[in-house]
Amino acid sequence: MTRLAVDPIACTGHGLCAELLPEAIALDEWGYPLLADGELPRELLRRARSVAATCPTRALRLVQTAARSAATDA
């Protein structure tokens, strides 16, 4: 069970990810990635891994789906 995640601080909107993985990533009007909801389909896993590795700022990650970080505030 794997999904895509972006570290929004690291991401500077190169847009490479959307070019290389259009099945799961689109760009917003400012050039920042919009990720498809939910699990990454199995057939995309390998390619997604290599796309994450080519992200110029290493902002794109593959994460195992467990609990999302919950508390962001005290």
């Binding site: 570290d7 601080i9 970080s69 508390a71 962001t72």
Partner: protein, 400 residues
């Protein structure tokens, strides 16, 4: 300040000193904070309303997993300009907060304890710490005076000596916070409630502090009040015919029409159906002589300027939304696509930042466009229903 709604509570001690505190509340008994929080279903009072027991356990678990002793941070930063409850609590009942820190530090085995608060409160807090035998264990930290300075990862960065900006949540603060160690950041009111719970007060988790802002005899009035959760909003905040709308939760909160707000129970279950939450505990009654669009535009301008500027959607979206709202706030026909643009930008922001600043700002904007829709139409025809442009909601003059 009225005290009708609470017969006993956080402000019961007649003064802030240790003798008054001891005489009013007695000594602090030993207790397990996790058990206390779990039994009373205590929720955090910093804004997110997260279950305290879950948060305490997750930090304790992270400490075991990483074999590093955790850091405890009392969060009194309160960057929200409309809120005053944490500052009032730290001034009037500091020893309850310090008791809470002591209790949680013991429970977690935390060796490093930090209390973060605005700089002007630190001399008073230092004097209170000096009164306590365990006072030397707490380090005071001046919190940056910015909107995001109380966001937990921004506060951790500040304590670490970095710029006070939110950090990525891919590794959460509970696992890697201050000094890279598991860190519990807990709001000061939550800590004070735990201190009362340790003394056997079963009611305190059912009460909360709110900051009220309204106009009394044409004069602005602000106070802090302890209320029972679930009290009808109209019983807490004076809502006469001169009130147009109510802002619930603060600048990441929700505008509601006065008629809707009046009967709403002030708790999670009561506010959720109308898309609102207590958030930072701010309740503000917008006087009928003000323009809700103008007020919102000023606040959103401040919020856009308060962005950390780290995440693309927030960096791009908030200034555009703020500029568009400034146009809508004028009594003039706006460009035809402007509302469509605002709604599209609002849709692009939630869940895409390192922190919840864009999400909260969008919540405020969306509620304003709904509640003040008649005003939007009035402005388009060149008119405004307000009779004064005097600002109501506070916005700091100097922003980042």
């Amino acid at each position: 300040m009225t005290t009708v709604l609470s017969t006993h509570g956080l402000f019961d001690a007649p003064g802030p000193g240790l003798p008054e505190h001891r005489a009013t509340f007695g000594p602090l008994p030993g207790a397990d904070p996790v058990e206390l929080a779990a039994a009373a279903e205590l929720t955090g009072r910093g804004g997110a309303g997260f279950p305290t027991a879950v948060k305490l356990r997750s930090v304790a678990d992270a400490a075991v997993a990483t074999r590093r002793s955790p850091v405890l941070v009392g969060n009194g930063a309160e960057g929200e300009p409309a809120a005053a409850k944490d500052a009032v609590l730290l001034s009037r009942a500091p020893h309850l907060v310090l008791d809470g820190l002591s209790l949680v530090a013991r429970g977690l085995g935390a060796t490093d304890v930090v209390l973060a608060a605005p700089e002007h409160l630190l001399p008073g807090l230092a004097a209170r710490l000096a009164e306590r035998p365990d006072g030397a264990a707490v380090r005071l930290h001046p919190a940056a005076a910015e909107f995001l300075s109380g966001e937990e990862s921004a506060l951790v960065a500040d304590i670490d000596g970095d710029p006070p900006l939110p950090r990525s949540k891919l590794v959460p603060v509970r696992e890697r916070g201050v000094d890279g160690r598991p860190t519990l950041v807990q709001n000061v009111e939550t800590l004070a409630r735990l201190a009362l719970m340790a003394r056997g007060d079963r009611e305190t988790s059912g009460r909360t502090l709110v900051t009220r802002r309204f106009q009394r005899n044409r004069t602005p009035w602000t106070d802090v009040l302890e209320i029972p959760l679930g009290a009808p909003l109209g019983d807490v905040l004076p809502l006469d015919s001169h009130v147009r709308a109510v802002l619930v939760g603060g600048y990441h909160g929700t505008w509601l029409p006065a008629a809707v707000a009046r009967g709403l129970p002030l708790d999670r279950a009561g506010l959720e159906p109308v898309g609102a939450a207590l958030g930072a505990g701010v309740l503000a009654a917008l006087p009928a002589d003000r323009c809700g669009l103008r007020e919102t535009a000023r606040v959103v301008g401040y919020l856009a300027a308060s962005s950390a500027g780290q995440c693309g959607p927030c960096l791009n979206g908030l200034p555009r939304i703020a500029a568009a709202l400034a146009v809508l706030a004028r009594a003039a026909t706006p460009p035809p696509q402007l509302l469509t643009d605002i709604w599209r930008w609002c849709g692009l922001l939630p869940d895409r930042g390192a922190c919840r600043h864009p999400d909260g700002t969008v919540r405020l904007v969306a509620s304003a466009l709904g509640v003040f829709a008649p005003e939007v139409r009035l402005h388009a025809s060149g008119r405004c229903s307000a009779t004064t442009t005097r600002p109501f909601l506070p916005v700091p003059g100097a922003v980042r």
